[in-house]
Symmetry: C2
Amino acid sequence: MPSPENRKSLFRPAIDAMSAYVPGEQPKDRRYIKLNTNENPYPPCPAVVGLLRNFDPEALRLYPDPEGCELRGRIAALHGLRPENVLLGNGSDDILNIAVRCFAGEDESIACFKPSYSLYPVLARIQGCSCTQIRLDEASGFSVPEDFIARVSDARLFIACRPNAPTGNSMPRREVERLCGGFKGAVLVDEAYADFSEDNCVDLLPKYPNMIIARTLSKSYSLAGLRLGYALASPEIIDGMMKVKDSYNVGVLVQKIAMAAISDQEYLRGTISRIKNTRAHLSTSLLAKGFKVCPSESNFVFASPPGGDAEGLYLSLKSKGVLVRYFAGEDTGRYVRISVGTDDDIHRLLELI
Amino acid sequence: MPSPENRKSLFRPAIDAMSAYVPGEQPKDRRYIKLNTNENPYPPCPAVVGLLRNFDPEALRLYPDPEGCELRGRIAALHGLRPENVLLGNGSDDILNIAVRCFAGEDESIACFKPSYSLYPVLARIQGCSCTQIRLDEASGFSVPEDFIARVSDARLFIACRPNAPTGNSMPRREVERLCGGFKGAVLVDEAYADFSEDNCVDLLPKYPNMIIARTLSKSYSLAGLRLGYALASPEIIDGMMKVKDSYNVGVLVQKIAMAAISDQEYLRGTISRIKNTRAHLSTSLLAKGFKVCPSESNFVFASPPGGDAEGLYLSLKSKGVLVRYFAGEDTGRYVRISVGTDDDIHRLLELI
């Protein structure tokens, strides 16, 4: 990397050297059964529809509440916490970005697992810090290695995705506790998919002052297009993160829609239940077809076809109008990640396999 | 600042040491005539209302187009540019944040004027870089000092707010050209208020490859609550900034509403014209009352009351239900910044002064 004094580019060397994060395809060439970006196949709850119908556009004239007090109160109540435990983000990617900026400077490092959400190392590159990636053991179903905490002792932030993407499994809660207790930096548990899981880590927050939980409305609430995520943590951590977040990072209408979405927990439970049922059917069917299937606690299934030609499967499905996600690379190259769609979507997928 | 090795806090020393940006008050205790955050007193255009009434909430289920192609195309057409010249932001604050992260690393510096938008030095502190502030000359109506470019030769990014906030005046275009031609780093011209000005700098973009223009829909389009800003620059600069922006920084509904807002340029011209007329009346009336008034090219007026007790004026107006903005400090402490409201708002304000 050239020294800053001699740089010829307008950009920081770290930015010139990096590649952008590559989000899942959002193709416009034809209609696909879209099982590639873990979107929810069911619409947002009726309260969201009602909110939009009755929203007064004049409210868009004024700046949003920079602290988002009302929405934070609703989120806090949902989790049995206080508003001071909640920070709003423009999607949970914003929360992740804020966390990296809060905890790791240039010449410091963050850590995460691999394979995991591929945005984490990209955020480190933007920040100019390094990212230690702890390899999950594919042979044992992408489990966490015994000694991982010792290997990241220099890091300032550990981001653990639980359930993990793209593998779909959850690391044991006792490993989360071991990490929070044994690691000197901040621990962010990315619970983007936790609503599809048997458990989550929110109840551990009071026990570990270095713990942050990130949530999103993109998956379980069917609001990927809205952009609303949040962090749960101690008031001290939230206060610090508040300094780094943009004052007006969540707009007026987004705050209102999020409140409407959160208000209907029965609808939420209903769609989650349907997705879990379809997930079970998908997993069983893939196993019956000879796939290796990673046990899923999320709204997608990570599975390796007989023979392991996952890229071939991805391309073949795409040509037939079904889009799944393929991640090239040593750890992931023999798997496809299939988002759990409707029963009809999955029926069509299974017909084609 | 403690060395990173010894730090006791979870946070980076730069974050612990800094104070958060303080946005203008959004009080909830009573109804005010709100002339403190440069919001537009008129509602968004009718096309925004129509869009909201007909929007299908099911569209929120899917992620937004990360590149925002359709909206970028509309914005490009508006300015006689190409979509590759446009980057979308979650408000123009997001554009400013992305720019600081792109161009200035820790141990580097950015530069701006003072007084100017107080977010600029805050963004530098978050990034861990320094911020050189070039003092504008109050005696000559907050004009730009002759030698300012030589004084920022080490900076990697210069942010020039034009028209400037909170002073409301515009630096001469020839000074912008002198800056872009004579400065080795990137130059961001923050044109948040340019729609209220006699001119802007968009036509200079092809001439200066280091130039970026930031715009927002918050002011002239009456959409402060929406959060949509954008950058205009060369494709090379936009490509680099694209790596740093969050993939999904602008939601589905925000993109649609922005397109609706931009579609009605006649409505835009109408509200701008009304605001300019009210601004002229406000400035003339303040001058008649013995105020020192900074000539405004924006949707606010920066004015110093006879005797200079601006804080007293701010508090007195607040107690009577009219909120203006007061910035303590050597350069600004004898002025109040008054957003241009409706004629009725300004009539009431002038009655109280």
